[in-house]
């Protein structure tokens, strides 16, 4: 089996939890702490990937370029990673990120739309980057179909393909079936990754069962800092890996310190399982919708959960944040 590769997402998925408002200093301090603590890769960008800054997803405190600038130079071990969602960011954005020292990129599509990613995956390889294919909202696709999409990304050159449970809606069996389906069709030297959200409190458990069935790239974030109820909490994952005697490169106590000292103090809305974030996992809704739905609920006098449920019923996919206000207005009309 491939070595365990801990991919931190505190500074990318974690953006969602604070409306993409990390300062440049915070990014640098946290990136250095993660690097010292031995994580293998650190992802930095707007929560919705490069060029995600927008009315639809929220404008960041800085541009991706400002956040990324000067980080590659201060990392001693960890690979600087970023995220690109075709349809939002372009190859020009990818090249800019590469120039800033980004060594690894995850190219993300909805779980049935992998064929919009090959041009970005191929260009990443041409630029000499490590590339992950990121199949979002993986709970909306059956294991075999999802694996076919993974194959498309592999054929385009992806070094790794992820089961990305953006809604935090998968149960452990659902994760296992998808990872097994990937392993069945992908080449032995193609790595498999897992990206969880903690909406049903399964972030760590799902990551572990994925690992036990062949995933070696594990996404996690300090104190779970991420969209919805957050991601698989990194320090907890590392503690569990230690108890399982699984080899990795990270230091538990340093990660605990970073989680509690650097991350928890900057969480404005607590990142936890509560009625709203639980509803994301329960309804199978894109975790990044959380703060947008809470804002719409407040503005139009509605229950956040009702909005989230309706978005799930309408099969909205990642990126359709504009439909949150649309749903809210429909609900106001129906009142």
């Amino acid at each position: 089996m491939n070595n365990i590769y801990l991919q931190d997402v505190t500074l990318r998925d974690g953006m969602h939890a604070i409306k993409h408002q990390y300062s440049k200093e915070q990014i640098k301090t946290i990136a250095i702490a993660l690097d010292k603590a031995g994580v293998d890769a650190i992802e930095i960008s707007h929560g919705d990937g490069l060029a995600g800054g927008s009315f639809n997803y929220g404008f960041g405190a800085h541009t991706d370029w400002d956040w990324l600038e000067g980080i590659a130079e201060v990392l001693e071990h960890a690979k600087l990673t970023t995220l690109l969602i075709p349809g939002i960011a372009t190859i020009d954005d990818l090249k800019k990120a590469r120039e800033l020292g980004v060594a690894s990129v995850r190219v993300a599509t909805h779980c049935t739309e992998a064929d919009i990613a090959p041009q970005h995956i191929e260009m990443s390889k041409k630029l000499g980057m490590d590339v992950g294919g990121f199949l979002m909202m993986a709970h909306m696709s059956e294991p075999k179909q999802l694996a076919q999409q993974a194959k498309i990304m592999e054929s385009a050159g992806a070094d790794c393909v992820y089961v990305t449970d953006s809604a935090g809606a998968l149960l452990m069996d659902g994760v296992v079936d998808r990872i097994k389906a990937f392993r069945d069709v992908l080449a032995d030297d193609t790595e498999v990754g897992i990206h969880c959200h903690h909406n049903l409190s399964l972030g760590v458990a799902n990551t572990i069962v994925a690992m036990q069935h062949g995933a070696n790239r594990l996404d996690a974030s300090l104190a779970g800092m991420g969209a919805g109820a957050g991601n698989c909490p990194l320090e907890v994952l590392v503690a569990v890996l230690n108890k399982m005697d699984v080899k990795h490169n990270a230091d538990l106590f340093q990660l605990m310190d970073a989680a509690d000292d650097l991350i928890r103090p900057i969480q404005t809305r607590p990142v936890r399982v509560d009625r709203e974030t639980l509803s994301l996992g329960y309804a199978g809704v894109y975790s990044s919708f959380l703060l947008h739905a809470e804002r719409a609920a407040k503005k139009y006098g509605l229950d956040t959960r009702a909005i989230l449920n309706e978005l799930g019923r309408r099969n909205m996919v990642g990126g359709q944040e504009d439909m949150i206000v649309d749903v809210a207005l429909d609900m106001v009309k129906a009142k």
């Binding site: 060029a51 009315f55 404008f59 049935t112 739309e113 099969n315 996919v317 990126g319």
Partner: protein
């Protein structure tokens, strides 16, 4: 005045839908030749069955045909690369105009209710993108009332209505649309996002427009948008405001940081649109394809009637 004869290059979904619109609806255009490059093309066979001349030898085949002389407008529904080749052959025939439905954009962008009058003398015009046709009229409607600093559009289309060409070149959509939001919509800075949604049954095309403008009379903006929507409805009957226009004040102390512009404040306008196709050749959910073919037809008809 007799009808003006037209040819369509590219017998795919777009070309076929356009052909059907011209046959069924146009008082001014007459379908003459369908042009392809594959003798086994289903689209060419359909055109032939309907009684129209066809060639599978591309633009070179068309130019050799007896019909060529009378054709005044050519629609190009191929690819950016093929359009460069086609225009290379057509340019010398000064009596002919070409409407480019590819992302090549050799000629200026054209969004019928916004800038037809400005470029009616052009012989090669480009129809931007489906998302551009759906949203740029709205950005322009706001621009008519207030200076638009920033225009952002989100086009959500059903997966089934996104063909392999669009999928393989998705950056062309975001880049071309963003440029046209600036050049035609009048925004200082434009941004475009496209989302594919695989839901079954397929969802009807949705488009959302956000603008950040200087403060202005909200009623005037609303009226300008309503007027524009009815202009678009003249050629795309399924185009509608799905919700009332929404306004939010962005005060200076809550200014947003926009890449390329810096900190901006003012009036945020949100327009939620729905584009249902006419269901001619393509199903109703494919409003994205319908608005392209409808805009192309409307453009050709205005070229012919010279109505502005």
């Amino acid at each position: 005045m007799g009808k003006t004869k037209v040819a369509i290059i590219g017998p795919g979904n777009i070309g076929t839908d356009l052909m059907i619109k011209i046959i069924r609806l146009s008082e001014y255009l007459e379908m003459s030749v369908m042009v392809g490059i594959d003798p086994a093309s289903v689209g060419l066979a359909r055109a032939k069955r309907l009684g129209y001349a066809t060639t599978h030898e591309g633009i070179e085949g068309l130019i050799k045909m007896a019909e060529w002389q009378d054709i005044k407008i050519i629609f190009d529904a191929t690819s950016a690369k093929a359009h460069h080749f086609n225009w290379g052959h057509i340019e010398q025939y000064s009596d002919k105009k070409i409407i480019d439905l590819t992302p090549a954009a050799i000629g200026p962008f054209l969004v019928p209710p916004v800038n037809y009058n400005q470029i009616q003398t052009e012989r090669n015009v480009n129809m931007v993108t489906c998302g551009g046709q759906a949203t740029i009229p709205i950005v322009a409607a706001v621009s008519r009332v207030a200076k638009v600093h920033y225009g952002e559009i989100i086009a959500s289309i059903s997966s089934k209505s996104a063909g392999p060409g669009t999928r393989a070149n998705i950056d062309e959509f975001t880049e071309t649309t963003a440029q046209a939001v600036e050049q035609v919509g009048g925004a200082t800075k434009g941004k475009a996002i496209i989302i594919l949604n695989p839901a079954e049954p397929p969802l009807v095309m949705r488009d959302t427009v956000f603008t950040l403008s200087e403060q202005a009379d909200r009623t005037a903006i609303e009226q300008s948008i309503h007027k524009m929507v009815s202009e678009v409805q003249k050629y795309v009957p399924g185009y509608e405001l799905h919700q009332e226009v929404q306004f939010d004040n962005i005060p200076e102390e809550e200014a947003v940081f926009i890449e390329g512009l810096g900190f901006c404040h003012g009036l945020k306008t949100t327009v939620l649109l729905k584009v249902k196709g006419a269901g001619h050749y393509l199903p109703e959910y494919a409003g994205n394809l319908d608005i392209m073919t409808s805009a192309a037809r409307a453009t050709a008809e205005r070229m012919v009637t010279n109505q502005v």
